[in-house]
C-alpha cells in the first residue's frame, strides 16, 4: 500500500501503475452527474469555473446525510461511466486524479494517457468505510443540487486501487 498526498505531485502520479493499492490523504473535490454537466457547460460558454481544476482530484460521490455528531454520512463512489461524456474536457483543464467505480469509455482512456492523469477505483458500496476517512467538508458551489453539490473534502487514509494509470496501463 502506497501512502500519497492529494493534490498529487507529478512524480507520485507517474509512479502509479494499474492494480496498485493506494491510500490518499489531503484534499479532493466531490462532483457527480449534475456538477459535471454544469462545469462543461461553463467551459463551453467560455465562463470561469467555480474552482481551479489544475492538479486536482475529483471524487464521483453523493453522500447520505450525516448522523448526529458526524460531519459526513455514507460516502462511497458512484458509477464513473456516467461522467464519461464530460471527463475529457475536465482533464483538458488539468484535473489529474479521477475517483469512482467501474469501467470507462475509450475516450476517457485516451484522454488520461494524453493528459497524464489517473483513474482510481474506490470500493463500491463501502460508504460507511469512507465516512471514517473524512476529516473536513466544505460546500464550494452549486449548493442547490443538495446531495449532488460540489464539495471540497479533506481526507485521511482514503483507500483506492489504480484502475487506469497515466502510462496507458489498465485493469480493464
Amino acid at each position: 500500500m502506497k501512502n500519497l498526498h492529494l493534490p498529487i505531485g507529478e512524480e507520485d502520479l507517474r509512479s502509479l501503475r494499474a492494480y496498485d493499492s493506494v491510500s490518499f490523504s489531503g484534499t479532493l473535490y466531490v462532483g457527480r452527474d449534475q456538477v459535471h454537466q454544469r462545469l462543461v457547460k461553463l467551459l463551453e460558454e467560455g465562463k470561469p469555473l467555480p474552482v481551479e481544476l489544475e492538479g486536482q482530484a475529483i471524487y464521483y460521490m453523493g453522500p447520505s446525510p450525516p448522523l448526529p455528531g458526524m460531519i459526513m454520512g455514507s460516502c462511497g463512489p458512484t458509477t464513473s461511466a456516467r461522467m464519461d461524456p464530460f471527463t475529457p474536457q475536465l482533464l483538458g483543464k488539468g484535473l489529474k486524479v479521477l475517483i469512482g467505480k467501474g469501467p470507462r469509455s475509450q475516450a476517457v482512456h485516451d484522454a488520461l494517457k494524453k493528459e497524464k492523469a489517473v483513474y482510481v477505483q474506490a470500493f463500491g458500496g463501502c460508504g460507511a468505510l469512507y465516512a471514517k476517512t473524512i476529516v473536513s467538508v466544505e460546500k464550494v458551489a452549486f449548493e442547490d443540487l443538495g446531495p449532488e453539490a460540489l464539495l471540497r473534502l479533506e481526507v485521511k487514509d482514503f483507500p483506492v486501487i489504480v484502475a487506469i494509470d497515466s502510462h496507458g496501463g489498465s485493469v480493464f
Binding site: 460521490m61 453523493g62 448522523l67 455514507s74 462511497g76 467501474g102 460507511a128 471514517k132 446531495p147 486501487i161
Partner: protein
C-alpha cells in the same frame, strides 16, 4: 407496534445490516476467491475489495452508518392473503408512512426525483415508493422492500428471447448482460431472472427472484440446475469483485418463471449489488 412502525424499523435496519445468509455468502466469496486463485493481480485486487466490503459491514453495523450512500429506491412487494380482513388502503398508508419515516429517521439519502427528464427535482423524502400488489393464499400480509441502488439498477435488462431458445442461449444472454455491466453494479452481484409472461412480467419476476433467500434453489429441479449453469457462466466472465478481475463475479442466481405466449420467451434480468438490502415484514391478519 403498528405496521407502519415495523416497516420503518425494518428499512432502517436493512440499510445497515445484511441478512445472515447474504453476509455469509460474501465471506464465502472471499474464501473461494483465495482458494481458486488468490495469486494473480486481479484476484488479489478482488480479495482486497471483498475484505473492504466486510470491514464496511462491520462499521455500518457498529456505528449505524448506512452501508452505502445510495440507500436506494423503495421497491415494495406486497403479498396480501385473500382472507386478510382489513383494507388494502390501510396497508398502503402504513407503507407510505413507514418509507417516509425510515428515510428521515434512518438518514437515508434523498435519492428520488419527481419526474425523470425535465428538471429532475428531488422530492427530498426518498418517496414515492414503488408498490407491487399480489394476492396470495392465507390471511397474512407479507411485505418485502428492496432498497434498490441504481448503480446496479442501471445494468438490468430485458431480452425477448426466441421461443426456440436453448438453455445455452439463456446462459450466454445473461453472461452478456453481466459482461456489459462490468464493475458498474458493484460486483459481486446477485442476479434475479424472470422467464416467461410478457416483457414487463418477466422484469417483475426477475425482481421477485431477488427476494428469494440466498442458497434456496428453485423448487423445480431443472430450473434449479439452470440457476447453477447460469452462475457458472457468469463466474466464467472473470469480472470479479469490483470489476478488477477474479473468479467470483456473482453470489447467487435465482430464477422465477411463469406461463408465456407460443411466440415468445421474455427474459428479465435484475442485477443487485453485493449490498442486497431487503426489509421483510409479515403482518398477521
Amino acid at each position: 407496534m403498528s405496521l407502519a412502525k415495523r416497516i420503518e424499523k425494518a428499512l432502517i435496519d436493512a440499510a445497515r445490516i445484511l441478512s445472515e445468509p447474504i453476509h455469509k455468502r460474501i465471506e464465502w466469496a472471499r474464501d473461494e476467491e483465495k482458494r481458486l486463485d488468490g495469486k494473480s493481480v486481479g484476484s488479489k485486487a478482488s480479495i482486497a475489495v471483498l475484505e473492504a466490503i466486510l470491514e464496511n459491514l462491520r462499521i455500518s453495523k457498529n456505528e449505524w452508518i448506512p452501508m452505502c450512500q445510495d440507500t436506494g429506491m423503495f421497491d415494495v412487494f406486497v403479498d396480501v392473503g385473500r382472507s386478510y380482513p382489513l383494507s388494502h388502503a390501510e396497508i398502503e398508508e402504513a407503507i407510505l408512512t413507514g418509507c417516509e419515516k425510515a428515510a428521515k429517521n434512518g438518514y437515508f439519502r434523498p435519492s428520488v426525483v419527481e419526474e425523470p427528464l425535465f428538471g429532475r427535482k428531488n422530492t427530498k423524502t426518498n418517496t414515492p415508493p414503488i408498490i407491487w400488489w399480489s394476492l396470495v393464499e392465507g390471511k397474512n400480509v407479507e411485505i418485502n422492500v428492496l432498497l434498490k441502488g441504481f448503480g446496479s439498477e442501471n445494468t438490468c435488462a430485458t431480452r425477448m428471447m426466441n421461443p426456440t431458445a436453448t438453455e445455452e442461449q439463456i446462459v450466454a444472454a445473461v453472461a452478456d448482460i453481466v459482461t456489459l455491466a462490468g464493475g458498474k453494479p458493484c460486483p459481486p452481484i446477485f442476479i434475479g431472472i424472470g422467464l416467461g409472461g410478457t416483457m414487463e412480467r418477466a422484469a417483475y419476476l426477475s425482481k421477485r427472484a431477488l427476494l428469494r433467500e440466498v442458497g434456496v434453489p428453485n423448487s423445480v429441479e431443472r430450473y434449479a440446475k439452470l440457476e447453477e449453469k447460469i452462475l457458472a457462466g457468469v463466474q466464467a466472465t472473470g469480472i470479479g469483485a469490483g470489476g478488477l478481475g477474479g473468479r467470483i463475479t456473482a453470489l447467487n442466481v435465482a430464477i422465477e418463471y411463469e406461463p408465456t405466449h407460443i411466440a415468445g420467451l421474455p427474459m428479465g434480468v435484475s442485477i443487485n449489488c453485493w449490498a442486497d438490502r431487503i426489509a421483510r415484514v409479515v403482518w398477521e391478519g
